[in-house]
Symmetry: C2
Subunit: 354 residues, 2 copies
């Protein structure tokens, strides 16, 4: 056995592992398969008029969520939102979702129903059906998998790979809230563990906490784009962090990009809390926070005027030819190269458990 | 809080829990949803010509498999087979599968590749693509989820609910092998733990062990049915055990049934090992074994002659009007009511960990 036998997953990270798996499956066996691994959802060409979309996500206790501060109903809602967001990222319409859970012996029937109550609220919000799932025992911990099916007209599908130099870079909502929500909840958890009778302070932090516990997929923005008759040239949902996800688009599209710090939409509470309570640069939080489930997309420049001063969409930069690199211009006019400091489940886990 | 708060899942079992969840989602929100929870796969009517099928399965370490005696490559193959079997059970054709894994820190990159090597072999066998998946860290244990998409012509779909009195009951292959394979492996594991240097005896048991570790979905039978132009009136795959799965068909179709012990296809090694080494009645193993992933289906009586002496399909009984009950006629001519002694992950887990 060579050295190769001992490569641990943390050394190559989640993306490295996905690349290794992808390399093992170089060929498409079926004509129906347009996109397999490598975008927000698989794309199948089963029928003449629509493309079929399929995406799957794991949410694992101790890695993706902490039941100490995550109500089960919120978790059910979030599980659905995370998957709906993947269909949104293809500019598609979600149809139905399967929600599978593996449970250890802590869980009672009412707890499971509480979780599915959140699933139900989300299904109503996004107008989709719960169409299946598997319920099994686990040795230890709660494991959730969601798989979602959606559809999109062939002329409206948005991949990661279609961005062109000159396109504008747009982001929905604001970013960094979920990460600050996580820091607040971890801080309050530590306080509680050290002093169980101390008051948990959550007042004033409702927005970042809701971003963490109950994120909403931007299906509303997909409808706005449809009404405006705009098809993004590339799109991704922001789960790993803006910098990481923007670099995914640039790599897939073989382009560069520039984004402008003075355009970044950051919520005032998130901004203040990052800076004053956690001693963090709000721009770093914006670029690397992750888990906000907003959409990042590119559009031809001619559509720019449609999104100036738009309440839900902000233009933050421009796609460039590949040789110009991928960078940010700071408020003071300096150039900073973008690096993928995205959220990586394996590294995070390792860090917290060393 | 009333007594209701304390209902543990083992008290109602997996099927009870699914019923509770099903009750929470009484309405279909979308016209596309033909079948949500309650069959082997969800059935969506997205397009004119075909129905779209979607199914999902969990395979959890310590509950569904034991890495002590399960090679990762076999496990990858089995994960795909289990899902393909669900599409077969709808008389459909599988198209693509997502395979998601949650891994703890024991796992190295080559181990993950070994697992996906098995996935690849299965994808080649069933002519499907790996179209996605999620790879995440777990706190402890290996968790696998597969979600599969397939299609079936509208006039060929087979639900659980279409069986009619007079229909013949057919089963593919032979049953009980996977359960005997499990007993053999558990026995050898115990021997190994007590005496690590003792020889593990697997010679002669290749068939039941392969049934446990590397089950094959009966996509070949779906093709045979297509070639013979036969559409089953009802179909299910045998994952929980013949008795349990036949009762699912009878309940869904509101019919009774009779099956004949002297018709039961049991492999000779399985028969002998059950009887002589584990002191088990082979008929009980046949009825309740589970995990064989064969197909159970019903056909109009007129098709009977097509399946007499068929190498892959055995007629074992007949559908009856509901008032006649659900029973077996033994070799000695006695009547025994069928009970669902199917495999239930929650009860099994509880039993082994008390």
């Amino acid at each position: 056995m060579g050295k190769k036998e001992y490569i641990h997953i943390e050394e190559i990270g989640e993306f490295g592992l996905i690349e290794e798996i992808k390399k093992m499956f170089p060929d498409r066996r079926r004509n129906e398969t347009l996109v397999a691994i490598g975008d927000d959802a698989a794309v199948l060409n089963i029928h003449d008029d629509f493309l079929t979309l399929l995406s799957t996500d794991n949410l694992n206790e101790g890695v993706h969520f902490d039941l100490f501060y995550t109500p089960l109903k919120h978790l059910g809602f979030k599980s659905v939102s995370v998957s709906v967001s993947d269909i949104c990222a293809m500019n598609g319409e979600p149809l139905g979702i399967t929600v599978s859970i593996a449970l250890d012996s802590r869980f009672t029937v009412p707890m499971v129903k509480e979780f599915y109550e959140g699933v139900k609220i989300a299904c109503e919000k996004y107008n989709i059906d719960l169409i299946g799932g598997d319920t099994t025992a686990s040795y230890k911990g709660l494991f959730i998998n969601t798989s979602i099916i959606g559809k999109v007209e062939k002329e409206r599908v948005a991949y990661r790979h279609g961005a062109k130099p000159g396109d504008l870079i747009c982001v929905t909502g604001d970013l960094g809230g979920a990460y600050i929500g996580l820091l607040i909840m971890q801080r309050e958890k530590e306080v509680h563990i050290e002093a169980p009778l101390a008051t948990i302070k959550l007042e004033g932090y409702e927005y970042p906490i809701s971003r963490l516990l109950k994120p909403e997929a931007r299906l509303d923005v997909i409808k706005i784009l449809r009404e405006l008759d705009v098809v993004p040239t590339a799109m991704i949902d922001i789960s790993d962090g803006l910098a990481s996800d923007l670099l995914h688009i640039c790599t897939s599209s073989n382009v560069g990009c520039v984004i402008y710090e003075d355009k970044f939409p950051i919520d005032p509470v998130v901004y203040r809390t990052a800076l004053l309570e956690f001693n963090l640069n709000p721009t770093t939080v914006f670029l690397s926070g992750g888990e906000d489930y907003e959409l990042l997309f590119t559009i031809p420049e001619k559509y720019g005027p449609l999104f100036e001063n738009h309440p839900d969409i902000t233009i933050i930069g421009k796609i460039l030819p590949p040789e110009e690199g991928t960078y940010m211009i700071s408020k003071s006019g300096n150039r900073y190269e973008l690096t993928a400091q995205g959220w990586d489940a394996f590294r995070k886990y390792r860090r917290e458990n060393q």
